[in-house]
């Protein structure tokens, strides 16, 4: 199977700090990748580079063999590279349904007509999304009044309105109560189409073990391990620098 995303020799520094050093990754379609590493290891920088928030100093990023290096976030989103954020990025004064309406409106072009209202078809699409992400109870609630875990789900639901080819989730379970993390990930993974490629940043190794097919371990801006979860989590260097479980 050909790669949907290829990151080749990407480097990025912020002053004297190297956030990405010679990063090479090839991701196949519908793969589920977990990105692990300590704080400052370069995981979020990697996500930010792929999604256009940060431009790399050097290197190339290919999406289905097309060079997308340095493209702006909105053009990458239109190409099918979508993301959620560690701190959910939502429209705080709007309701859940209105957040989804804006997202769907941008995706289908209704948001560019000055008088296109939320029609029955869009209402149906909103309801479908709410159903898929188990958010129906929060339909008419203002985002600023919702708990963090619900906001995380809405952030991801908003991101998938574009029908992404690649979805990058930055710490989808951070700030969520330990007992709710698996439930949240179950909802997310079951809500996504099977052909969507998912890359998620995660600190909880149990989550990584269960939901990732492959794991990239970051340390000091480098990828120090790239393999199936079991192999990476048993890797001595990973155990020393990331999980802290070295014997």
């Amino acid at each position: 199977m050909t790669a949907i995303l290829e990151v080749k020799q990407v480097n990025k520094s912020f002053g004297s700090v190297t956030a990405a050093h010679d990063i090479n990754v090839s991701v196949k379609q519908s793969e589920r990748l977990g990105l692990i590493g300590t704080n400052g290891a370069g995981k979020t920088t990697f996500v930010n580079i792929v999604t256009g928030y940060v431009k790399p100093d050097s290197g190339t990023i290919l999406l289905q063999d097309r060079d997308i290096t340095g493209h702006a976030p909105r053009s990458l989103t239109r190409e099918g590279v979508c993301r959620s954020f560690q701190v959910p990025q939502l429209f705080l004064t709007l309701t859940t349904a209105q957040n989804l309406a804006v997202a769907l409106g941008i995706a289908n072009g209704r948001a560019y007509s000055p008088y296109a209202t939320i029609d029955a078809e869009m209402e149906q699409a909103i309801d479908n999304l709410l159903e898929r992400f188990r958010l129906a109870d929060y339909r008419e609630q203002i985002i600023s009044e919702l708990p963090g875990g619900v906001r995380k789900l809405i952030d991801i639901a908003v991101a998938v309105t574009r029908k992404p080819k690649i979805l990058l989730l930055d710490e989808p379970t951070s700030g969520v109560a330990a007992e709710q993390k698996f439930a949240l990930m179950d909802i997310v993974m079951s809500a996504l189409d099977n052909d969507v490629t998912v890359l998620f940043v995660e600190h909880d190794m149990d989550i990584v073990s269960r939901y990732a097919q492959r794991v990239l371990a970051f340390y000091d801006g480098r990828i120090i391990a790239d393999d199936v979860p079991k192999a990476v989590l048993e890797n001595e260097i990973v155990r020393t620098h990331i999980t802290g479980t070295a014997g």
Binding site: R74, T77, Q89, L90, T93, A101, I106, Y115, T117, I118
Partner: protein, 320 residues
């Protein structure tokens, strides 16, 4: 209560009520309403900008451009029809707004506000020095006609102008109300809330801001043209910062949630100013200041917020 057909019905009913009201009220009061409507239109434009999270201190520029556009078409082009003059005023401001908007769309907060103010003051300065446009004295205009009808008496002229202003206001308010309820209207609020997410949904924040700014310019131009034919005079003061300040005042008092609140706020301001300048000629600015302080303290979301709270309470009691 917000489907387009219901909104259209309410608009038609409002128009009829306003027409009847114009017959009942004294002439000075009717004229005051026309000037309040003109300023309300410009303030409505400002509200469009505020909905995307920005504040313009230069809405007077488009008010002035609309006034001069209409006035010069009357004086140089020999056009007397109020509708054509107002449309011309709106068009001039629309073009000016469309040229400026992309340059301003990259700025935020105080930088955006002061840049709009600077452009407005530049126009004021240029008009003051332009003798062929009347310089600081401005130009006097003729009374307009209304779709071929030329009023015979001054009372008829005031009422005709009032009716014309009512049609204009209701049409613009209707368009804005439907727009506020549209997906595009929500997108403006989304930009106000979170620009990053709007970009990460595939939309351009600059485009949204540019479009809102241009639409605001059009409304400012229509308001300026209406004001010009109402007072039969245009001068550079229309672009002065105090004129823009009045629109900001109206926008703050009304809030950004309701279209009708904008005109309510504009009428309130016009009446307060009129009565204050009559009864406290040396202290009317102070009464305006007190009024503004009170509105910020007691109506932080403006009259629109108050209306929305009432509406929600009403809906809540219906459900209960």
């Amino acid at each position: 209560m917000s489907s387009p057909s219901v909104i259209s019905f309410v608009a038609a009913l409002t128009l009829v009520m306003l027409a009847v009201l114009g017959k009942v009220l004294p002439g000075w009061c009717v004229f005051l309403l026309v000037t309040a409507f003109a300023k309300g239109l410009a303030a409505l434009g400002l509200v469009l900008i505020i909905r995307s999270g920005l504040l313009s201190f230069g809405q007077g520029l488009f008010y002035c451009a609309g006034g001069y556009g209409a006035g010069l078409l009357m004086l140089w082009g020999g056009v007397n029809d109020a509708m054509l003059l107002v449309l011309a005023g709106g068009f001039v401001s629309l073009v000016l707004g469309a040229v400026i908007a992309p340059l301003l769309a990259g700025y935020r907060s105080i930088f955006f506000a002061t840049l709009t103010l600077a452009l407005s003051m530049l126009a004021h300065g240029a008009l003051t020095k332009a003798d062929f446009l009347g310089g600081s004295d401005g130009l006097n205009l003729r009374p307009p006609s209304f779709l071929g009808f030329q009023p015979a008496s001054s009372a008829e002229a005031v009422y005709s102008l009032y009716l014309f202003a009512c049609v204009l206001v209701v049409a613009c308010a209707l368009a804005c109300k439907v727009h506020f309820n549209s997906v595009r209207g929500l997108l403006s609020l989304a930009v106000r809330d979170n620009e990053i997410r709007v970009e990460y949904l595939g939309s351009s924040v600059k485009r949204v801001i540019s479009e809102n700014f241009t639409a605001a310019a059009f409304l400012g131009g229509i308001g300026g043209a209406l004001n010009a034919i109402a007072v039969a005079h245009i001068d550079p003061e229309l672009a002065f910062w105090t004129t823009s300040g009045e629109f900001v005042f109206v926008a703050i008092l009304s809030g950004y949630l309701s279209v009708s609140a904008v005109f309510a706020a504009s009428i309130m301001l016009e009446f307060i100013r009129s009565f204050s300048s009559q009864y406290f000629p040396n202290a009317w600015q102070m009464s305006l200041g007190i009024f503004m302080l009170a509105s910020i303290l007691f109506l932080p979301n403006g009259i629109g917020g108050l209306l929305q709270r009432r509406k929600k309470r009403l809906e809540g009691s219906k459900i209960a």
